[in-house]
C-alpha cells in the first residue's frame, strides 16, 4: 500500500505527536513520530518531509537542523519544515535553515491541509527539475 508520502514528526510532547499522527495517517501519509532530534537516521534516509516543532531545545542555533541534514545523508529529497504558532518565527524559516514553515500549531485540520500543500509543492518542484535536466 503506497502512502501519499513519508513524514517524520519531531516534537517534545507525546500527546501532540499522537494527535498529529492520527490526523496525518488518516489523510494517507506514512508517519513516524519521535521526541528525539537525534538518532533518526534510519527514518531520514527515506523521508519526504520532516516537521520540527520550533520549541525543541537547540533550535535557534541551527545545529539541530544541521544534524538532521547530516543524518539524512544521501537523501537530498527531504524537505525540512518548521511548525510554530508564532508568525514572526514562521517568516524567519529561511534564516533558520528550513525549507518552509507551517503555522496553526495545534489545529490538526490545518496541519493536514498545509501538509497537503507542501506535497503539492514537492510534486511541482520535481516536475520542474525534471524539465531542467531533460
Amino acid at each position: 500500500m503506497s502512502s501519499a508520502g513519508k513524514i517524520l514528526l519531531i516534537d517534545d510532547s507525546e500527546a501532540i505527536l499522537a494527535r498529529a499522527r492520527e490526523a496525518l495517517v488518516g489523510a494517507g501519509y506514512e508517519v513516524v513520530t519521535t521526541t528525539q532530534t537525534v538518532g533518526n537516521g534510519r527514518h531520514l534516509a527515506s523521508c519526504d518531509l520532516v516537521i520540527l516543532d520550533f520549541h525543541m531545545p537547540g533550535m535557534d542555533g541551527g545545529q539541530v537542523l544541521q544534524g538532521l541534514r547530516q543524518a539524512a545523508g544521501a537523501n537530498r529529497r527531504c524537505w525540512y519544515y518548521l511548525l510554530t504558532s508564532d508568525e514572526a518565527i514562521a517568516d524567519d524559516y529561511a534564516r533558520l535553515g528550513f525549507d518552509g514553515s507551517l503555522r496553526h500549531k495545534g489545529n490538526q485540520e490545518q496541519l493536514v491541509s498545509q501538509v497537503a500543500t507542501v506535497f503539492r509543492m514537492r510534486r511541482l518542484a520535481q516536475m520542474a527539475d525534471r524539465r531542467v535536466t531533460r
Binding site: 518552509g100 498545509q114 500543500t117 503539492r120 509543492m121 524539465r131
Partner: protein, 750 residues
Amino acid sequence: MNQIEHKQQETELAPPTVLPGRWFLPVGLKLAVGTLLVLLGVTALVVAEGLRQHQASLIASKRVAAERVTELFAAALVAPLDFRDPDGVVAEARRIQASRDVLGLGVWGVPADHALTGGEGLEAPAATDGPRAEIHAEFLDIVRPVVREDGRAVGSTRVRFSLESENQTYRQERWQILALAAALAALTSGALLWLARRQIVGPLRGLVEAARATEAGSTRVRVALRANDEIGQLGAAFNRMTAAIDDRERRLAEATVELQQVLDHMGQAIVVVDASGRIEGVHSREAERILGPDLPGQRLVDRLFPEARPSDIERRAFEQWLSYAPLVPDDEWDEVAALAPRELTLAGRDGEPRSLALDVRRLPVPGQASAMMLLISDITAQRKLERVVARQEAEHARELAVMRRLVAAGGHLFAAFLDDARARLAEADLARSSQLSAAEVAALLRGLHTLKGEARSFGLDALGEVVHDLESDVVRERSLPPPAPAAASGQSLRPGPVPPDERRARIVRGGQLLDEAERLFIEASPIGRLALEQVPVQRADVDALVGLVAGRDDAVAEAVGRLASRPFGEAVVSLSDGLPGWAEGVGKRVTLEVSGRDVPVPGPLARVLPGMLGHLVRNALVHSLETPAQRAEQGKPEVGTIRLSCVQVPGGVRVSIEDDGAGVDEERVRLRARSLGVDDSGPVGELLFVSGLSTADQRDLLAGRGVGLSAVRDECRKVGYEVTLVQPRTACFVLRPIDHEQRGQDPSHR
C-alpha cells in the same frame, strides 16, 4: 468598466509602411519623371532632326544660288579659255570674286595642272570629274567643267562660296527653335502631369489615405471617386470592403457584450494572468467583488492573499505554481493543472474566513509562455453551511453518545430525573402567581438548585442554565440574597417583579428541553421507551425466583416469567453493532429494521436468541443479499434490508427474520444435498437444516461450515422453540414455541 476594450477611432495614423530595402518612390513622381524624360527625348529628337533639315535647306538654297553663279561663270569662261585669254579669265574671276560670298575660286585649263588664276588652296578638279558640289562646314565648293558649245571641255573651275551667313542664321534660328521646343515640351508635360494627377495620382493617394485610416481602426472611412474608370471601381470596391468590416466589427462588439453579460452572470470571477503572474484581463464583474478594484496590472497573488505573510505555505505554493505553470509543455499540462490549488481559505475582510474555489485553464500562445485563465468562485456561504450542518451532526452524535452511556448506566435514574424535573418546573410555574410563605419559597429554591445540579450531571447544560435563571427569578421576586455562585446568565439582580412573559417563557423552554432530552434518550436506547421503565435487578435473584415457581401455572409464575424476560430489543443490540462490520467485510450494504423491540422474550430464549439471530443474519448476508451492484442492476436500492420482528403469541413469542435479497436458492441447496448423498426431495426448508450442508463457496468467519443452521435448530429446541423456513423467496425464517405448533393453534401462515 470591465468591458473588453473596443478599438478606438484614431485620428493619428501610423507612418506609411515602407517596403524594406527600397526607397519610396511616389507614383506621381515616377509618372512625372517618366513623362518629362520621354517628352524631352522626343522633343530633342524632333528638334535635332528639324534643325538638321533646316540647316540642310538653308544650305540647299545657297547651293542653288551658288551653282547658278558658278554655271554663269563657267559659261563666261568658255571664250577666254578657248581662246587662251588669261586676262579674260582673270577679269571674269574678279567679277565673281567681287561678291563677298565667294571665298575663292580656281580656274584650270586642260590639262588642269596649274591654276590659271587663284586656286590657292583649292584642289584642281580631275578631268574625269563631272559637275558637282562639295559641301563643307564653312564653305561650299561648286565645281563645274567649262564646256564649249560643241561639248569639248576647255577647263574647269571651282568656286568656293562661304556658308558663314547661313551658319550664322542657322545658329540664331537654332536657339529660337530650341526655346520654342522647350516651351512646348514644358507645356505639354505640364498638361500631361496635371491630367495624370487628377485622374490617377490624386485618387490613388486618396485611396491610400483611406486604407491607412481603416487600418488604424477608423471604420467610417469612405472614398468619393466619381470617375467611372478602373480607379473608380477600386474606390467602390474599397467602400464596400470598409462597410463590410464595419458591419463585422459591430456584430463582434454585440457578441462581446452578450458574452460579457453571460460571464457576469456566472457569478465567477474570471481573470487572465500573464506569465509573470500579473492580471492582464478581467472578464467578469464578480472579479472585482472577490478580488477588489483596479485589477489589471496587479499581481494575482497579492489580491488572493492580501494579508498572508510571505512564509504562508498556501501563498508560497500558489506563487510557485503560477511561476511554473506557464512554462510547462502540453504533455505535462494535465498533471500540473491537477496540482493547482482547488480551494483557498483566506482570512476575510471582516474576520470571517472566505473560501474560494479555483479552476484553471491555459491560454497557450505559440512561441511564448502561456497566459492562465482562472475561474474563481466564492463558496464561503456554501462552506459555512456545511460547517454548520457538520457541527450540528457532531453535536447530535455527541448528545446521543452521552445518552447511550446513560442508558447503559441506568435508565431508571434518568427516568426518575425526568419526572422530578417536570414536577419542579410545575412548582416554579405555580410559584409565580401565588403568595408562598418564606419556607415554601426556600423549599422551592432548594429543589431548583438540586435540579440544576442533576441536569448538569446528566450533561443537559442548557437545561441547567434555564433552571439557574429560574432560580434567579424567584430570588429577585422575593428580594432574597442571590444564591452562590454568581449568575452565569450575567443579569443584574434587581429586586422587583419579573415580567410574567419572560418567566413563563423560561418554564416553557425548560419543559421543551426535558422533552428533547427524553426523545434523545429513547433514540439512544436499544429498547426504546422501555429503558425508562426498567429497574435493574440481580440475575441471581431472578434465577432463584424462577426456580421457586417452576411448575406452577398461576399469576405469580406468570409475573416471575415476565420478570425473567428481556425485551426483544436487547437481543438485537449486538446485531446492530456488529452488522455494519460484517456487511463491509463481504462488500455489501445492509440496514436492520426491527419491530417489537419492547416485546418481552422469555428468559431461556432470551439467553440464546442473540447468538441464533446472529447466525441467521449472517446467513442472510452471505447467501441471500446481493452486492450493491447486483441490486442496482435489478432496480433495488443499493442498501439491502434485513427485517426482524417479534410478536407475542400464546406460549411465548414469534420471532421472524427476512430480507429483501435473492432469497434461498433452492436449486443450489438441492444440488448440494445431492452431492452430500442426501435425498433432495422434500421441502427445501428441511434440507437447509441438514448438518454439513452449506452452499457457501468458502468458509469464512461468517458462514460456510454448514453447521450453523442445524446448530440453531438444536439450540432452539432446547429452549422449546422451533425454527423453520416459511418463505424461501424472502429467506424468511420463523422461531415459534414448540408447544404452540404441536397444538396446531399457530395463527401464522406457512
